[in-house]
Symmetry: C2
Subunit: 423 residues, 2 copies
Amino acid sequence: MPDYAAHVPLVHLETPCLLLDETRMERNIARLKARLAALGEAGGVTLRPHLKTAKSIDVARALMPTPQGPATVSTLKEADYFASHGVRDLLYAVAIAPGKLRHVAALRARGVDLTVIVDSVEAARAVAGAGASASAGMPIPALIEIDSDGHRSGVQPQDTAQLLAIARALEEGGAALRGVMTHAGDSYNCRTVEALEAIAEQERAAAVRCATVLREAGLPCPIVSVGSTPTAHFAKSLQGVTEVRAGVFVFFDLVMAGVGVCTPDDIALSVLATVIGHQHAKGWIIVDAGWMALSRDRGTARWAATAPAAAASSGTASSAGTSDAAASAAIARWRRDQGYGLVCDLAGQPFADLIVADANQEHGILALRPGSLGSATLPDLPIGAMVRILPNHACATGAQHDRYHVVTGAGPVRAVWPRINGW
Amino acid sequence: MPDYAAHVPLVHLETPCLLLDETRMERNIARLKARLAALGEAGGVTLRPHLKTAKSIDVARALMPTPQGPATVSTLKEADYFASHGVRDLLYAVAIAPGKLRHVAALRARGVDLTVIVDSVEAARAVAGAGASASAGMPIPALIEIDSDGHRSGVQPQDTAQLLAIARALEEGGAALRGVMTHAGDSYNCRTVEALEAIAEQERAAAVRCATVLREAGLPCPIVSVGSTPTAHFAKSLQGVTEVRAGVFVFFDLVMAGVGVCTPDDIALSVLATVIGHQHAKGWIIVDAGWMALSRDRGTARWAATAPAAAASSGTASSAGTSDAAASAAIARWRRDQGYGLVCDLAGQPFADLIVADANQEHGILALRPGSLGSATLPDLPIGAMVRILPNHACATGAQHDRYHVVTGAGPVRAVWPRINGW
C-alpha cells in the first residue's frame, strides 16, 4: 500500500483500508472514564485499558492514564512494542506458558513492570522458578485468574483450597503475588440490562471474595482486577475493585451494539471499500473488501433469527422494572445478523438494511438484509463508488490491517497511525 | 516475536506460530503439476498459481514454472511484492477498481506484465482510458471475467451481447483484450466425485464457449484461464483451456479435506500452540492459540450435522457408478465440523477426535468432538506441552502470521520464510 500523506480525501485512498473516526473514539473513551470516576472506592477506580483491540501507541496514549500506563496486553509482542514506546506498567492477561517466562524476565530486566497471570499450581511454580533463576534474581509478579462466569480459564471462585495452593506456590517459591483478576467474557451473551448488571456484579463479587480469602490467609492482594466492555459499562458498583480492564469500547462494533453497550453511531472503526461490480439480477453489489479486510468474524450471526420486534418484546416480557424493560427493548434494536458488516456512505451513515451478505477473500457481496420486506431499496452505487463498512468485531477487523487512517466524519485523513499484529 | 535461527527444535519456539511442512508442500505441488501435464492440449496446460494463499516468494518459487512467473495475485500489494522479487507475469484476479489503475500502470511501467480483469462495460472503459492516458501510453491488458457457476462476479456465459460489448469497449478504447477467465468457487460445495467432475466441466465449457464467441466475432482471445483447487484436481478434460489457476492446494486444509480433494495427512500448514491451563471438570485443555492465530474461519461448520456414516451413505446413494460412489464415500470421511482446527501431536499426527472446540482472541479451548461417543479420551497434555493445529482454511490462517517456520515432520526448523499481508 502506498504511503498516504495527511489531508488526503477519502476518495483518493486505495481500498480496502481501515478508517478510524477520532471524534467517536474520543467520545467512547470519555464515556468510560467518566463512569469509572464515579464508581469504586473514593476517587474512582483505575482504568487499565486492554490494548489488544487497537495495538497502536497513538490510540494507547489516548486511553492510558499516563504515557507509562497502566495497560493490558494479550501478547508479548504487544508488550515489546508498547515498552519500546515508554509504557512501563503492563499486565499480560493470558495464562503464562512456561516457555515465555524467559521473554517476560527479559522485559522486566529492561525496566518494564510486567505482571503475568496463572490459574494452576504448575504454572505458579514455573513463574516462581523463572524469577529465582533470572539473571537479576528478581521475582516475577503474578495475579491469580478467577473464573467468575464459567467462560474460559481461571480458578473457580468457591475453590478456596486451589486458590490458596496457587498463592502459596507463588509466594513460597519466590514469585510476587500481586492479587486476583477475572474477565466476565460471558457478558457478551447477555440480552437485557438486568442480565448485564447481574453479570457485572457476579464478576465483581467473585474477584472481591477471592481477594478476601487471600487476605484472611495472610497473603498479599493489593490488586483486584476485573473487566470486559459490557460489565465496565453496566456495573452498578465496583466496591473492592482496584482496576478495570476493557478494550473494545475504544472503537465499539456491531456485536457491542447488539449486546446493547453502544449504537452503530458510536462505532469508530470502518473499512473503506470500492464498488467493483454488480450482479443486477441477484441484487448484489460487489466491493473490493472481502473477509480478508473485514475478518472472518461473524459474531452477529447468533442473532440471525432475531427480528427486531421479537427482540424488543422479549425485552418487555422480562421481569425487569418498566425503565429497565424499556432500556432492554431499546438495546435489542441492534441485535441483528449484520452479515460481514453494516454498509454506510462515505460520511459513515448506514444505508437502510444494506449489509455485506457474503464474502470471499477479496470480494464482499453487498445485498439487502434478508427479510427487509421491500421497505429498503438497493442504493445506486456505480463502479468506483466508495462505501464504509462497520465491523462485527473491532479486534478481529483491526487485526487484518497495519494502519489506521484517522478521520472525523467524511474526512479528509488527518493522520496515519501504524498498528502491530502477530506474535 | 524473536528471530529464530534455523535448526531450532519446535519445543524452543515461542507460540503461537505457523509451521510449514515442506515435504507435504512439495508433494502437493508435484501432484497438481503431474495432473496438468497430462491434461489440456498437447504438452499440458500452464499452471498460473494463485499466490494469495502463501504470499511468500519462497513458496512462490516452488510453485511457478519459472522465477518470472506466471502467477496470480489477489491484491496490488502482492503484485508489488512479487514484482520486487523478479516476477514479471502477473494476473490480478479481482475485478479492477478504477481508482487502482494508476497503480497498475505504474507497475507496468516498471516492466511487470500485469493483467487486470473486468466484467462490465464501465470498468472496461476505465481500463481503456487509463492505458491511453498513462505516461507511457501503453494499453493495459485485460481478461473478461465469466460467471461459470453463479458464485460471485462475472458475465453470464450465455450473455453474448454483454461479452461482446465489454470486449469492444476494451479493444476500441485502446486496452488490450487478452481473453477470458473464470473461477468455479461453488466447487467448494460439491459432495461427490461426480459433482466435482461436473462443475469442472461446467467451468471449462463456459470459458471455452466465451472464447469461441470472441474469436468468431474477430476479437482476440489468446488466454482461456480457469481454476479452483477442487476443479483443478477433478477436471477430466481441459480441452481449449490455456492456463489453470489454483492456490490453496499448495498447503491444503480441513475444508479441502471435507470437499474430498486431500486428506489431513496432506495438510502442510499448522499452528504450533502451548498448553496454558485446564478446566478438568469440563474436559477442556486451554492453549495459547486463539482465533487470532487460527483465524475466525469456520469453513467446516457447514458439516456440523454430518456424521461420517451418514455422509458415506449419502455418497453411496448417489447415482454414480460403483467406483465413483466408493470414492465419494471415501472423501466424505473428513466431512466434519472441525471447530477452529484439528489438534495433532508435535509430529503432526491427529489426536483422536480432539478439536479446537471454541476460541477467544488468544485462547483456544481443546475438547473432544461432540458425539465422539466416549471412544476417544482426552490426551494427557500438561501445562507447557505443545500441539499442532491443522487449519480450516489455509488462506485465512496464514494471513494471521508474518512468517513460516519450515519443517519436515517434527522438525527442527530448517528455515524461516517471511510472508506479507494487507494492502
